[in-house]
């Protein structure tokens, strides 16, 4: 049932063990097909020629694979534009969010001060508010501040939404680094800032990168705010994808090709950051 059979299973020969585990593997295969088929289907659609896409029979592999959709995406629809917009918004958000969160996480991890628990909780409640509750007033505020329809509106929003979780992740990672490391450096005459920059930051770097990957993915993927806060010139990828649904029909070739291009960077980042993100994510829940 729970895979804990292996300790008992040693009493059985290999084939018996395999047969007993077989239903589990079949179930796993079914679940994986369910989870992954949509991606396969998106890819296959993106390399089908136009007439096969809307043909009378559905084909599971294109009779003539072509990258026309990708070519058209960049030549006719200038997809590079939303990609650059997304890259700008996501990169700047990542840098600001990481800097601000790192400072706060250092304070929470290394100082014991009055109101520490209150402030931590304040940060945590941040993520409890419904997205749409913030969306409406922020739209009005950004409009009054004159930054609606500029990348700043998105950068400011995404930075704020990612700060609480970044602080929490970084705080957890920092707590795992013993205080004695800095104390040794400070005994040798370094001040707090030097000790942090020279000793702690290099050791923390992989965790900072993982946290950065989370921030980047959030900003790269976000749609609800992006569609309200951008216009033609600075719309990001998610908005551009949705715009392929037009009055005259849906450009499925464009959507699927654009979709594949969109998830490749996040998948690569996720695979590298995965281990540390999962550690940070589950530390509390598992312990708790």
């Amino acid at each position: 049932m729970s895979g804990r059979r292996r300790s008992r299973g040693r009493r059985f020969p290999r084939t018996v063990r395999f047969l007993r585990a077989l239903p589990g593997y079949i179930l796993l295969a079914v679940l994986l097909v369910f989870l992954l088929f949509p991606f396969y289907w998106t890819f296959v659609t993106s390399i089908k020629p136009q007439k096969e896409l809307y043909g009378s029979t559905v084909t599971y592999w294109p009779t003539e694979a072509t990258f026309d959709s990708y070519r058209k995406l960049f030549s006719e629809y200038n997809f590079i534009r939303p990609m650059l917009n997304s890259l700008l918004v996501a990169s700047v958000t990542t840098v600001i969010s990481l800097t601000v969160s790192l400072l706060a996480a250092y304070a929470f991890s290394r100082y014991r001060f009055r109101g520490r628990k209150f402030f931590m909780t304040l940060f945590l409640t941040n993520n409890m508010f419904p997205t749409v509750l913030l969306l409406i007033p922020l739209f009005a505020i950004m409009r009054r501040a004159g930054i609606l329809y500029t990348p700043s509106a998105l950068i400011l929003s995404y930075t704020t939404f990612t700060i609480p979780f970044s602080i929490w992740l970084l705080n957890g990672y920092l707590d795992d680094l013993p205080m004695s490391l800095e104390e040794a450096a400070m005994v040798d005459g370094a001040n707090r800032a030097q000790a942090f920059l020279k000793i702690i930051l290099p050791m923390l770097l992989p965790c900072v990168v993982a946290t950065g990957a989370y921030v980047f993915m959030t900003a790269w993927n976000e749609y609800t705010f992006a569609v309200m806060f951008t216009n033609e010139g600075n719309r990001t990828i998610p908005v551009a994808l949705k715009n392929f649904i037009g009055q005259l029909g849906v450009e499925w070739g464009m959507i699927t090709a654009g979709g594949i291009i969109t998830i490749i960077p996040v998948c690569i980042m996720f695979f590298f950051a995965q281990k540390r993100l999962v550690e940070g994510l589950t530390a509390g829940a598992v312990k708790g």
């Binding site: 679940l31 809307y54 304070a107 509750l133 007033p137 704020t160 989370y214």
Partner: protein
């Protein structure tokens, strides 16, 4: 927003690190100031704004008529059949969606907890739906569900389960189940990930001891696995409820709430109202949604406080 778990337990206290316990130091306050100011400005200030807006007739199409109207928006909501329908849809969406995410996620976690060659790769790959943008999820499934060229119709016909193509998203009876199927697909990996981490923390000896005592697989599951994962299950389920209730992008890109509002949850309703620039009424419904979600958020935060107390 990209669904990553919020904090699930209090911070850990490190022995002997309370360097600044006695002497007052402005440094920690200065260090958290940038984060604090941003959050007050971009989260708490807008929430106050929303509360104010909900008491006003605030329609950007008629900017000259913006004025306080007291509880008028709330009264409108109480008499708005679409509001009640959206609330009901939200409850079903969350209950069925999160419920089945949990069941299949748990199943996947148990299966991934076995040792087999290539487990690491399988685990990474099965998490991809979790990092996929909500827009793309909506659009990918919209294409799969398509009534004319959709692959789901083709598969079902090849298997002989149906004879005529079904316009899954275009008819009221099938649209809502279809969007729920999509959100289940999105949420399975998250539950699997969290529960798998929990499973790996259960000491093997517990199972061995139970086996010696003659417990069968079912007894081991319900007497060891489930109780050991109690906290993980509680925390992940509450978090997931909050995210799923708030989710706009998946439904909006599948159906935009249609046909005939049959897939319009409260979040989507607020979003659609916001798009028509009736911000006062949209804020009112967003606040009602927030109050409903507080039923879930408060126990979650309480748990958090308790965990923090215990770690002291």
């Amino acid at each position: 927003m990209f669904p990553v778990a919020g904090p699930v337990a209090g911070c850990r206290e490190i022995e002997g690190s309370a360097m600044h316990r006695r002497k007052f130091s402005p440094w920690p306050y200065l260090l958290i100031a940038p984060a604090l100011i941003t959050i007050l400005a971009v989260v708490f200030f807008p929430v106050l704004n929303a509360i104010l807006m909900s008491f006003q007739s605030y329609d950007l199409r008629r900017p000259s008529q913006i004025r306080f109207t007291g509880l008028a928006n709330y009264a409108t909501a109480m008499h708005d059949p679409l509001f009640w329908q959206a609330l009901l849809k939200t409850v079903i969406w969350v209950a069925v969606g999160v419920g089945l995410q949990f069941v299949f996620g748990f199943m996947l976690a148990l299966l991934l907890n076995r040792k087999f060659p290539g487990r690491g790769i399988v685990r990474s790959i099965s998490l991809i739906p979790w990092v996929t943008p909500g827009v793309l999820i909506g659009l990918m499934w919209r294409w799969i569900f398509d009534g004319n060229y959709g692959v789901l119709n083709d598969l079902l016909m090849r298997l002989g389960l149906i004879h005529d193509k079904i316009p899954f998203l275009a008819q009221q009876s099938t649209a809502f189940p279809s969007v729920i199927l999509t959100i289940i697909w999105q949420g399975i990996p998250f539950f699997a990930l969290m529960l798998l981490a929990g499973l790996q923390g259960i000491p093997e000896e517990l199972y061995d001891a139970a086996s010696v005592d003659g417990a069968n697989a079912f007894q081991r599951f319900f007497l060891i696995t489930v109780p050991s994962l109690k906290n993980t299950i509680f925390v992940t389920t509450l978090l997931r409820i909050i995210w799923v209730a708030n989710s706009v992008d998946v439904i909006f890109n599948l159906t935009e709430g249609g046909p005939a509002y049959s897939t319009q949850t409260l979040s989507v309703y607020v979003f659609n109202k916001g798009n028509t620039l009736n911000l006062g009424y949209a804020s009112t419904m967003a606040i009602l949604l927030a109050l409903a979600l507080a039923l879930v958020a408060v126990p979650y935060l309480k748990k958090l406080f308790k965990a923090q107390e215990e770690s002291r």
